[in-house]
Amino acid sequence: MSKNAIIVGLVIFVVAALFPFWFNLGRSDTVAPKPELSEQAKAAKKCVLEKYDMRANHMSLLDEWRDSVVRDADRMYEAANGEKFQMSLSTGDNSCIGCHTNKEKFCDKCHDYASVAPYCWECHTNPKEITQ
């Protein structure tokens, strides 16, 4: 193969292999955004799981909740810390959205950062978005 073709190929390889390095050059917003806690959430100080567990596991918990509500009509969740919560995204103060009132400032912050597109909102509605 000709020398030029090989050099062009190698340049393409190096540029492609280092893509993440030059794509993020000069970017300062690469730090994870902090989800904003509402006043209620700040006051309550406790969630259904511990903080790290919640960050890693909340989607599995919601999956279990969905099965529990849809199949067994059991809507009460007793957390490890003794508190009781509604197994619901959006009904009452004791549910997820009841405490974390602002979806954009709470859920979406991390989901957008990690490129996660949960399909929760294909069925559930965010009450705030309806009133807007």
């Binding site: 190698l10 280092l18 993020n24 970017r27 960050r55 490129s115 996660v116």
Partner: protein
């Protein structure tokens, strides 16, 4: 027990344990999270260029394309333009099909004796290696491209679209990615082929098994982190972003399994240029594929040719003319 696959298997286990124990026991996050990944990038790119440079600077003494069809000949004989190309465009099409569809593997055959009394040796078409290889390579590509979501901020729409397609069957939470399942199934098939097919097993070496076990280890830890043991994905992304923006910082609370995954990936990348995995670059430089079969139309001069000192008949006669005339031998020139 076959030491050809036991040694690589133990090796991959040790690599896993080294990273897992190093992080969980000795708190060496800085080594497995920062030093080894950067080192792997340097070794990968440097080693890759070194290998390609080595191939590029070796001479190709002959035009040696493998011909799998009718050569260009008389006008009324139909040429196979792709399998026996005589132009650069034909070679290009041949290379594209080879790289994206593994056409030479598609022609794979197996030899076997007939099971009746004739006991005749016959060859049959064997397509499963091709199917397994396609499934493996493409699912690995999708997995690799999907991981760009940890390396880029904001995540480009094409990566998100790929994720959407990959997770389109929406089973469970977090949703199952098809590429992960296909990858682990295909790599297990390729491994089973090497272990259980006697003829393939006979020609398989430790260096054939090691990448397979390493990829199984990487896929298993990745799948485990996504679906079973869980990891704080936002901290992980923040950590990866800190690496690619050259401000490395170790996240809190991320466990040994993630570092084991990262370390095995680093080993895979560092190992790639010195192993058979280098076919990723080598496929472009295979002289049996990337040359046109035009030896009858163009003269191919061997770059190794040097000026051979020749002694023509004219020079010979000049040297011995007197003696030849004396002996009565015929000569071209009389004086």
């Amino acid at each position: 027990m076959n030491q050809k696959y036991m040694l690589p298997l133990i090796g991959v286990f040790l690599l896993f344990l080294l990273a897992y124990a190093g992080v969980e026991g000795a708190n060496m996050q800085w080594a497995f999270g920062i030093i080894f990944p950067y080192l792997a990038v340097i070794l990968f790119i440097g080693g890759f260029i070194y290998r390609v440079y080595g191939w590029a600077s070796s001479a190709v003494p002959f035009r040696i394309p493998t011909t799998c069809g009718q050569q260009k000949s008389l006008p009324w004989i139909k040429q196979n333009c792709i399998d026996n190309p005589d132009t650069a465009s034909g070679v290009f099409v041949r290379m594209v099909l080879e790289i994206f569809l593994f056409r030479s593997l598609f022609r794979n055959t197996k030899a076997g004796f007939a099971r009746d009394e004739t006991n005749r040796l016959s060859f049959s078409w064997e397509i499963f290696l091709w199917v397994g290889a396609l499934a493996f390579h493409y699912s690995f590509l999708v997995v690799l491209l999907r991981h760009l979501r940890f390396f880029l901020t904001p995540v480009p729409a094409c990566v998100r679209f790929l994720e959407y397609l990959d997770g389109i069957i929406q089973i469970g939470l977090p949703g199952i990615f098809l590429s992960g399942i296909v990858l682990i199934a295909a790599v297990l098939f390729l491994l089973a082929r090497r272990i259980f097919d006697g003829k393939v097993s006979y020609i398989s070496l430790a260096s054939d098994y090691f990448p397979l076990f390493l990829i199984i280890g990487i896929a298993a830890t990745g799948i485990s982190m996504r679906y079973f043991t869980k990891v704080d994905i936002v901290s992980v992304k923040e950590f990866i972003m800190s690496l690619v923006t050259f401000h490395p910082s170790i996240p809190e609370g991320v466990g040994g399994l993630f570092y084991a995954h990262l370390f095995m990936v680093s080993v895979l990348f560092a190992y790639l240029p010195i192993s058979k995995l280098m076919h990723i670059g080598g496929i472009f430089l295979s002289p049996t594929r990337n040359m046109a079969n035009n030896t009858r139309a163009k003269r191919h001069i061997n770059p190794w040719n040097y000026n051979v000192k020749t002694h023509t008949y004219e020079e010979y006669e000049n040297h011995f003319r007197d003696k030849m005339i004396e002996a009565g031998l015929p000569v071209d020139k009389k004086e």
